[in-house]
Symmetry: D2
């Protein structure tokens, strides 16, 4: 299933590498030796989690149904216009961000406001519905970054002892 | 929108009264003077919340798409069979349960295991897909019960002072 | 109890007005007519919530016990140094941010990274322990801002209909 | 730190084995081959998590401060009497329950209502303050049970493929 969801994202224009770049931007200020390669591996690990796979499948199905006009009103318009008070996309994506603890959730909140990298492009894409996709990308990047933060800490403690 | 979601639930066989009965079962042990009428009013208040309305619209759309075979695999089978490790239905419903604080979330967990009243009937319905619906009903009942718990407390404190 | 927690915050150097200023910064870009007075009222409303009062009492008690050397190791050092992977302060504050839905949680994540206004001053205060306080302030400001976002939406919808 | 928190719990009368017994009760209906030994190993794994260790340290410090009359009012009375609308103990414990996804949170809600095994004894202990402890035990048992549920699923899928 991991390969399947990675392919689904690629079909929607999101490469694993683009998500890793956001994780790099989040984590590199705290972690000078960090490489993009480390972030790619961390994103790969996040994709292993079943909860992440289920969230991606569900969110992208809703985007697609909205894009192909297969939803009834008023939900169709709410999702198509990414209605500001519709919070289901953020709620779902936060279950991804939360997998490695609260650090992921605060990073997600930051990305949700700043919309860096590929997230910005998705959020403003014309003629498409990426209401869930942009939040899912932010959720995966946040989780990958939180995972690296925990890992860094473990290495520091191992050096001390 | 409130009337719309109440009607959507009715079309799926869930009356407001049935949800109120579950809230009554949850709350009456702590609140001897409680009536079913109080619980109906409390459920009505929960339906006022936009976050609740959005969750109902989204969850029931997914149930319907699964029932009408409009979802792609593997999500179609996951939702149709209510795959035990698929937690998106619970996650969504918990955002409802959570509206009046942690008491709602613990009640939701209890209902998820015990499946009392209408929840039991939905969970075992043949030829239909109620994967999101049963959790949504549990979420609304839990929120309505938590709201009554907070209200009771306020009245007690008013009597003391 | 509302007055009590407002006074507790004042004793720790945090005025209601300083929290309202952060809420103003968060919300004014989306809400051109917003005044600081609106934000002060919104912060006052957040303080009415029992869950908020309990969180403030608990968090400030932990800060104080750490400051007065009444905690055992290793918790004493963890709280005194605001150990980066200690997430209990953020978890507690997010229960405040979450009261008006997911918008509050994303704002909290943003503030946690940007540390604007009084939050910045608290986070870097010497000789004091404000590990919980800075997150609590961010949580209250986020909740007050989310409350205003929901209110604005209601007014817009009332104008349309 | 893992050994330290296991010892802290033992000092408060909670053995790892008692927590494993609750996890066994939760999980054995779905998992016929499950042994108590499996549950002990799963509880051990939960104790490895830093977020769990931090929550235990913080919760037990608050219980102890309340028991030794080192908290100010009104928090002292709220924690000593486990005031029904004080939800900080449940909120903290749910961050533990949540580590292996939503299954843990629903199990936690169930335990919070049913109070089986050692949780019952703690909840009714005279002359002591176990306001945080009983929820922490429920949180650990729920997480350990959720971990076993995910593991079982993986084994089933490995057999199929």
């Amino acid at each position: 299933m991991k390969e399947l969801v990675i392919n689904l994202l690629k079909q929607r224009g999101v490469k694993l590498r683009s998500i890793a770049e956001i994780a790099y931007d989040l984590q590199s200020p705290y972690n000078p030796g960090l490489t993009l390669e480390d972030c790619i591996i961390s994103v790969e690990q996040v994709f292993e989690k079943r909860e992440v796979q289920h969230t991606i499948l569900t969110g992208l199905a809703l985007d697609k149904m909205a894009e192909e006009d297969n939803l009834e009103e008023p939900l169709a318009t709410i999702i198509k216009t990414d209605e500001p008070l519709y919070g289901i996309d953020e709620s779902l994506a936060m279950t991804i961000a939360n997998i490695y603890g609260t650090i992921g959730v605060t990073s997600f909140g930051y990305l949700d406001k700043k919309k860096t990298g590929i997230i910005e492009e998705l959020d403003s894409s014309e003629g498409r519905v990426d209401t869930f996709l942009d939040d899912i990308v932010a959720g995966i990047a946040s989780a990958a970054s939180a995972r690296l933060a925990h890992q860094l800490k473990k290495e520091e403690q191992a050096e001390i002892s």
